[in-house]
Every structure is written in structure tokens, then in C-alpha cells.
């Protein structure tokens, strides 16, 4: 079993929809939680970073971390076709340690 499990998708939504992306994890030592967006054949782009439990909002994106449930989410409001990409959750134990990624969820937002 992988340390980080991500809802596999693929996910297809109409433009303007609210998107929910989710990951669960088994390692209770994870303290740093990230969401990356990756377009085809490109490097992962950091979207959101959260330390420990809580919510963080940045524009149309909201990241939630629930350490008690070992569950993290990324919400995208008013989704746009340009949001179509693969979204990867990633987690880390220490401040500057390696990241462990989920398998990614491919999102398609249809105009």
C-alpha cells in the first residue's frame, strides 16, 4: 500500500463547476502538504502549501488538511478550461525533506 493515496480520476467537469480533489495518507509524521499542477510533459507547478492542519485559500483554490483523519483536499472554484491538468498531492515529514507524491488526478474542464 502506498503512503499517499489519491483519488484516481479522471475527472471531467463543465466550466464553472466546483472541483474537489482528495488524498489520504498513512504516515502520521507528514507535516507539510502540497498540491501541484502538472501539464503534459511539464514540471509540476506548486499551487498550494500548508503546514499541519487547517485551511488555506488562494484565489479560486482552497486547500484543506485534516491530520486527525489523514485527509487532504484541494477545491477549485469556478473551474476554467485552463485548469485542465493533472493535479498531484505531495507530503513531507521534515522542513526540507523529500516529497512523497500521490498518483495524480487528471482533470478536464469542458467549455
Amino acid at each position: 500500500q502506498k503512503e499517499v493515496e489519491q483519488d484516481p480520476g479522471p475527472l471531467s467537469v463543465p466550466e464553472g463547476a466546483i472541483v474537489s480533489l482528495n488524498c489520504t495518507y498513512s504516515n502520521s509524521a507528514f507535516q507539510y502538504f502540497m498540491w501541484y499542477r502538472q501539464y503534459s510533459r511539464k514540471g509540476p507547478e506548486l499551487l498550494m502549501y500548508t503546514y499541519s492542519s487547517g485551511n488555506k485559500e488562494d484565489g479560486r483554490f482552497t486547500a484543506q488538511v485534516d491530520k486527525s483523519s489523514k485527509y487532504i483536499s484541494l477545491f477549485i472554484r469556478d473551474s476554467q478550461p485552463s485548469d485542465s491538468a493533472t493535479y498531484l498531492c505531495a507530503m513531507r515529514v521534515t522542513n526540507a525533506g523529500k516529497s512523497t507524491f500521490g498518483d495524480g488526478t487528471t482533470l478536464t474542464v469542458k467549455p
Binding site: Y36, R41, G43, P44, L46, Y51, A96, S99, F101, G102
Partner: protein, 113 residues
């Protein structure tokens, strides 16, 4: 803003050849990470360096080695290449003082034929 630079962007090698991938971190970043991403897979951590010293090691084959230089750039050396080494290789960098934001480069696509 300056980003992580990787070179070359594409590389084609034959089996049993060697390859060297280079990574130039964001200015003032002191930590470099290497990841391998196979087709349809998530990035897998290979190795990382902090202040020119190896800080962590993941699933890196013995055929691979890496180092970080005094100017903080890093090189991943891959020898006796196998078909299964074909993948995207990403470098990421971060500044240890501010924490966890790791910024990824555009990747090097290695094809072994």
C-alpha cells in the same frame, strides 16, 4: 522570477551508455532534489543535497550518482543505461530557511533506445 533550469531538455541515449543531467536551482536556494517520473506515474524521489552534502536518498539505482557543486548546481550521472531508465527527470530546489516550498524545473526527458 527566475526558475529552476535543467539541461538538456531532451536526451536520447543507447543502452549501456552514460548520461549527465544538470540542474541549476533558483538563486539563493541551497537544497536540490532529483525525481524520476515514468509515463503515467507520480514523481519518485531519487536523491537530495543540502549545502553540497547528500541529505536524503531514495530509490536511486547504484548505477546513478549525483553531486551538488559549490555554486549549488547539481548533476545526476547515469551509467550503464537501461531501457527502463527512460523517463522524465525533474530537479526541484528549495531554500532551507523558509521551508517546504519546492519548485520544480521543466524536466529532462531521457529516452534510452
Amino acid at each position: 522570477a527566475a526558475g529552476v533550469i535543467q539541461s538538456p531538455r531532451h536526451l536520447i541515449k543507447e543502452k549501456r551508455e552514460t548520461a549527465t543531467l544538470k540542474c541549476y536551482p533558483i538563486p539563493r536556494h541551497d537544497t536540490v532534489y532529483w525525481y524520476q517520473q515514468g509515463p503515467g506515474q507520480d514523481p519518485q524521489f531519487l536523491i537530495s543535497f543540502y549545502e553540497k552534502m547528500q541529505s536524503d536518498k531514495g530509490s536511486i539505482p547504484d548505477r546513478f550518482s549525483a553531486q551538488q557543486f559549490s555554486d549549488y548546481h547539481s548533476e545526476l550521472n547515469m551509467s550503464s543505461l537501461e531501457l527502463g531508465d527512460s523517463a522524465l527527470y525533474f530537479c526541484a530546489s528549495s531554500y532551507s530557511g523558509t521551508g517546504s516550498e519546492q519548485y520544480f524545473g521543466p524536466g529532462t526527458r531521457l529516452t534510452v533506445t
